[in-house]
């Protein structure tokens, strides 16, 4: 069964090729069957492989499938090979499972789009690339998937390309993440240079054997990988692209910018955890990045007016939790939160999409309200998703995964990361409750159409079920992934529960008093703008680049060549002028020339005998 692993990326890629080549000519039903079917089949394969794995895990805890040799230069020979282990399986399950539900949802959401086939082609390409990323046996192949998902993100953010703003957002996402990608690439060069291979398992073995803990190389490589991970996972200071990425269709936001692609950075660090363990300062940096980002995102989420932007900042913040966990070395807790987050955040985005469908794309929460009666299924599932995000105790998956992170933060990182996490938990409960109250409660301010059919509702219900049930597998999950299970302390669970409920309560009180609808203060504007990062980057990087390019558009080095030409032309003009055909000019020229020659003779001839005399005098 494991030998079918190659089908995981191959199926969506095949779907992509079929849709890309024939998409426009295919009837819509066929396009749907190909686009959704390929991901559905991939999910079936993932489930089958997972089941086979649980029944009989292969020796060594990993299965490698070699496909072909990519290239081979002077001993550097990266393979196209797949690596299946529990971590990869979890990621495959999330990508194909959540991906399948989102694809189903999208058949309805994108129903009236002229670019229907193009949309599913890009989505399939994304799923294929993402599966390549998580299954890659070699860092170079991982990098291929890594860039591939970035491309799909670009294509899908800019899906509605008629609006130039969407194109701008897409480009911003691509370029900002490419800053991280470039650091990642340099890390790869360093690894090849020092360890001679990019095969992940081998890299980890050699790194552990050759690099001392805390050594410069380990720190450098880990730091560069962290930069790559931060770019892809929208962590500070490279988080600026994600809120703008909401310009894409909502299923895209759910799949790429919430559930899967943005967590690739978490996956990368989890996959390379042995290497990161060799670089304690970088681990601290991961923790600090995570902590800073989770607060930054949470405060910004609190001040957003657009439903999807709240969720975008929430994603930034939640991935901050995962980085916090990675930073304290609790990578299985990070991956567990990655999984539950994929469930509930995809759910929230799809719910937001359902709201947008009903309100003709009115996403401003201050203009919405009271939709709970009009959209009951959306409302209830959104509340479940929100509860999971807020970490409402005992019944939601988010509670278990966030609690695991908080507990690890305390036991491995000490009180400060724990306190930051706790503050974040309070803010999370606060902003998600705010959004739910403003959107679904109170009086209805905006006209809304009734809910759409099963293709919208089934994915919502399924994800809601996962957002609740996904947390109960915690112990088994840890054993599957890391071989052991840790339980939290009851006391910590109670504190986390109280904090989360307090956030909900405060949000409710504020809503009752109408505080959420009050005009903005400076602080709120600052938070809403994402802490001013955009403006700073614009001033520091974009403007100088564009200014220099514009100022030098005519290429100053071309002036040098032109100057030579100008000199020749000037000389020509001078000489032409001298030949005016008048005798007196020529005589004057002759006279002038004679004077000049004489002068030269007088000036330069004189020192010579003097020099000769001194020379003879000096001679003995």
């Amino acid at each position: 069964m494991l030998r079918l692993a190659w089908l995981l990326p191959a199926l969506p890629f095949a779907g992509f090729v079929a849709l890309a080549l024939l998409g426009r000519r295919l009837p819509r039903a066929t396009a749907t069957a190909v686009g959704v079917g390929s991901v559905g089949l991939a999910f079936a394969v993932a489930v089958a492989i997972g089941a086979a794995w649980l029944a009989a895990p292969p020796a060594g805890g990993a299965y490698v499938q070699h496909l072909w040799r990519w290239f081979d230069v002077a001993g550097f020979a990266p393979d196209v090979a797949l690596f299946v282990d529990p971590l990869a399986l979890v990621m495959c399950g999330v990508v194909t499972g959540v991906g399948f539900l989102i694809h189903v949802y999208a058949t309805e959401y994108m129903r009236d789009e002229p670019g229907y086939a193009r949309f599913f082609a890009s989505m399939n390409l994304f799923v294929g690339s993402m599966l390549t990323l998580v299954l890659a046996d070699d860092l170079l192949l991982l990098y291929l998937g890594w860039e591939g998902v970035g491309l799909c993100s670009y294509l899908l953010i800019g899906f509605w390309y008629r609006d130039a703003a969407n194109g701008r957002a897409a480009r911003k996402a691509f370029v900002v993440t490419r800053v991280g990608d470039t650091a990642f690439a340099i890390a790869l060069f360093l690894i090849v240079r020092e360890l001679g291979t990019l095969e992940i398992d081998e890299v980890l073995v050699r790194a552990a054997a050759q690099w001392p803990a805390g050594g410069t190389l380990a720190i450098l490589v880990a730091a560069l990988l962290l930069a790559g991970a931060a770019g892809k996972s929208a962590q500070a200071p490279l988080q600026v692209w994600l809120p703008d990425a909401m310009a894409g269709p909502t299923p895209v936001s759910a799949l790429i910018h919430a559930a899967t692609m943005v967590t690739a950075g978490v996956y990368l660090i989890a996959r390379m955890n042995v290497l990161f363990a060799l670089a304690p300062p970088v681990m601290t940096a991961v923790m600090i990045v995570g902590a800073a980002t989770l607060l930054l995102g949470a405060f910004s989420a609190l001040a957003q007016r657009d439903l999807k932007r709240v969720l975008a900042y929430s994603t930034i913040s939640q991935i901050g939790y995962m980085f916090l966990a990675l930073g304290v070395g609790a990578w299985s807790a990070a991956v567990f939160h990655l999984m539950t987050h994929a469930f509930f955040k995809a759910l929230l985005f799809l719910g937001a999409g359902a709201v947008l469908l009903a309100t003709h794309h009115e996403g401003d929460v201050l203009k919405l309200g009271g939709l709970r009666r009009r959209l009951p299924v959306t409302f209830w599932t959104f509340v479940i998703g929100g509860a999971a995000l807020a970490g409402v105790p005992l019944v939601t998956a988010g509670f278990f995964s966030k609690d695991a992170i908080l507990w690890e933060a305390w036991s491995r990182g000490g009180p400060v990361p724990w306190a930051v996490g706790l503050l974040g938990a309070f803010l999370t409960a606060l902003y998600v409750s705010r959004v739910i109250l403003l959107t679904f409660f109170g009086e209805q301010k905006h006209a809304a159409e009734p809910e759409r059919g099963l293709r919208i509702q089934l994915p919502l219900v399924a994800l809601a079920a996962l957002s609740i049930g996904g947390g109960w597998v915690h112990g088994g999950f840890d054993r599957f992934l890391a071989g052991d299970a840790h339980g939290g302390e009851a006391l910590f669970e109670v504190v986390a529960a109280v904090i989360s409920l307090a956030g909900v309560g405060v949000a409710w009180l504020a809503w009752r008093r109408g505080l959420w609808a009050r005009p903005d203060g400076a602080l709120q504007r600052f938070w809403r703008s994402g802490w001013g990062f955009d403006a700073v980057y614009h001033t520091l990087f974009v403007r100088p680049y564009v200014w220099f390019a514009r100022a030098n558009a005519r290429d100053v080095f071309d002036r040098g060549a032109d100057a030579i030409a100008g000199l020749a032309r000037g000389g020509n003009r001078l000489l032409v002028a001298s030949q005016d055909g008048r005798v007196r000019t020529y005589v004057a020229g002759l006279a002038l020339g004679a004077v000049v020659l004489l002068a030269i003779g007088v000036i330069f001839a004189r020192p010579e005998p003097a020099g000769a005399e001194t020379a003879t005098e000096v001679r003995p």
Partner: protein, 548 residues
């Protein structure tokens, strides 16, 4: 030794002169065209297309006679030509030139088909020009005699001069003058250097211009400096390396599509090829000294080209500056003097020919429809020309080296090659700076794509047709090549390993004259520096030692 190899093969082969056939058939075609009446443009074009396709087919046959495990020259033909001076008609290929020859024969029919309708005046002369150019390009790539090479090298200039000067845009004369002067100045210095080398032959030895006779010839460091400088200048202008690049954007803007494609696709590679075949292996000690300058100019070119590309409103100018940037990658790979760097550079030459050639063809497609290349005149094209948009996207991605496309493998190998280089200089900072070019590249290419393809539709573009069958035929092979080289680059790479190893070996083995004490001191100092780097542990176990 090398000489013997060349002579022996020549005597032994005695079979069909495949290389000469591929080289001279285009010229023969040009002669045949002269017999066709100029009014019958359909026949002229059809004949040329069929002819060049046949030549491409024939050139593929070279692969079957080529032994990928042999790093020396193969398919060699060598006959005395001007015996008094020892000038021979000697041709042959190694893995490096073979694929560049294939690139030329591959691109030529596509260019002919691509300018099917674009060229309206003097069709006959245009086609003749092109066929002569093809012979000149292939001839320059296969020449093993320096004199013969020089003739082909200069022969390339004339048809190119005419292509821009006759079929070009409004400012074509100024552009041709700039193009011609720049290249001619460089070439003349190279000619002087060739004669100097010829005069320095050991007394009493037979006169020769055979390249292999000069490999390993001893020169003092000072001599090497001047000679390398002369060769390098000629090639640097052609590449073009910063700061000798300014003729390129003008030439591109004024050239017809066909001229731009052949210029970017093949002619620029003559510069980098010249470094690999002549400048570097002939004067290895000078190369050792020059590495930081070559790498420095390469990196400046990468960044400067990218900066300038952003500011251009003319699509062709943007692509031209992007070429400056991309050729910077090639030069960085060569400066690394490592197998990865060299192979990356060779692959990148081929990639750039494919991707940038395709870009110019695509620009030609919209130029033919709108007669403008100004980005401000476009916008929203992807709605009226969806397939064009898809192809344009693929080529753009190849140009910004997305993994899975050809550009990635080349660029990655170049950077890696420079990074692992364990010579006297640490090139890692050069890589770090050059890597910003990758970010800038994404920025300007995607911005260009955005401005042309996305955004609100300019009503003037309403009636634009999507790709015609002819345009599909031109572009499809290029798209296939983009993916084929991205996914299975080993097909090519495996045949160039030995040739690259040999080129590196020649380019690093000292040829200092024994009496050149000063030069020896300089080279020894560099050697010490290299060893010091190794001792510091910064120079790593090479990839080969560490591989599984």
């Amino acid at each position: 030794m090398e000489l013997e190899v060349v002579r022996q093969t020549a005597d032994a082969a005695g079979g069909f002169p495949w290389l000469s056939a591929v080289t001279w058939l285009p010229m023969l075609g040009a002669l045949l065209l002269m017999a066709v009446p100029r009014e019958n443009t359909g026949l002229l074009k059809g004949l040329t297309l069929a002819w060049t396709v046949a030549i491409f087919g024939l050139s593929l046959g070279l692969l079957s006679g080529f032994d990928g495990l042999n790093g020396g020259f193969q398919l060699v033909e060598s006959k005395p030509w001007i015996e008094a001076f020892g000038i021979r008609y000697a041709v042959g290929v190694d893995g490096i030139s073979l694929y560049l020859v294939l690139l030329s024969t591959f691109l030529t029919p596509l260019i002919i088909l691509g300018s099917w309708t674009a060229i309206e005046k003097r069709v006959k002369e245009f086609l003749i020009c092109f066929l002569v150019l093809e012979t000149a390009m292939i001839g320059a790539l296969v020449s093993l005699d320096i004199f013969l090479f020089y003739i082909f090298w200069e022969l390339m200039l004339i048809p190119m001069y005419l292509l821009i000067g006759v079929w070009g845009g409004t400012n074509r004369i100024q552009a041709t003058i700039k193009f011609f002067l720049y290249t001619a100045v460089g070439s003349l210095l190279m000619l002087a250097a060739i004669f100097y080398m010829y005069a320095q032959r050991p007394d009493g030895s037979a006169p020769t211009f055979l390249l292999t006779d000069y490999y390993g010839m001893r020169f003092s460091l000072k001599e090497q400096g001047f000679l390398f400088g002369a060769f390098a200048l000629a090639f640097a202008v052609k590449v073009p390396m910063f700061p000798f690049h300014t003729w390129l954007p003008r030439a591109h803007v004024e050239a017809p599509t066909a001229g731009s494609v052949v210029l970017a696709g093949v002619l620029l590679k003559m510069g980098t090829y010249g470094f690999v075949r002549f400048a570097m292996p002939l004067f290895p000690d000078a190369v050792q000294v020059a590495i930081p300058y070559i790498a420095g100019l390469a990196v400046i070119g990468i960044v400067y080209g990218a900066l300038l590309a952003l500011a251009q409103g003319d699509v062709k100018k943007l692509v031209a500056y992007s070429s400056v940037s991309h050729l910077g990658f090639v030069m960085l790979g060569l400066a690394a003097l490592t197998p990865q760097g060299f192979e990356g550079a060779v692959l990148q030459m081929i990639n750039h020919g494919i991707s940038t050639g395709a870009l110019f063809l695509l620009v030609g497609v919209i130029y033919e429809r709108r007669h403008t290349r100004n980005m401000a005149d476009f916008g929203g094209l992807s709605r009226v020309m969806p397939w064009f948009a898809v192809i344009f996207m693929i080529v753009t991605l190849s140009s910004i080296a997305l993994p899975g496309t050809n550009g990635f493998v080349g660029e990655f190998l170049v950077f890696m090659g420079a990074f692992v280089s364990d010579g006297p200089y640490d090139l890692r900072w050069y890589v770090a700076v050059g890597a910003t070019g990758v970010i800038l590249g994404a920025f300007y290419m995607l911005w260009m794509f955005q401005r042309v393809m996305f955004g609100p539709k300019n009503p003037k573009n309403d009636g634009m047709r999507d790709l015609s069958k002819r345009e599909w035929t031109v572009l499809a092979p290029l798209v296939v090549a983009i993916f084929a080289l991205g996914v299975f680059p080993n097909f090519i790479l495996k045949n160039i390993h030995p040739s690259v190893d040999r080129a590196i070996q020649l380019s690093t083995a000292s040829v200092l004259r024994d009496d050149d004490a000063e030069g020896k001191a300089t080279i020894e100092a560099l050697q010490k520096r290299k060893e010091a780097r190794k001792a510091e542990g910064r120079a790593p176990a090479t990839a080969a030692e560490g591989a599984r």
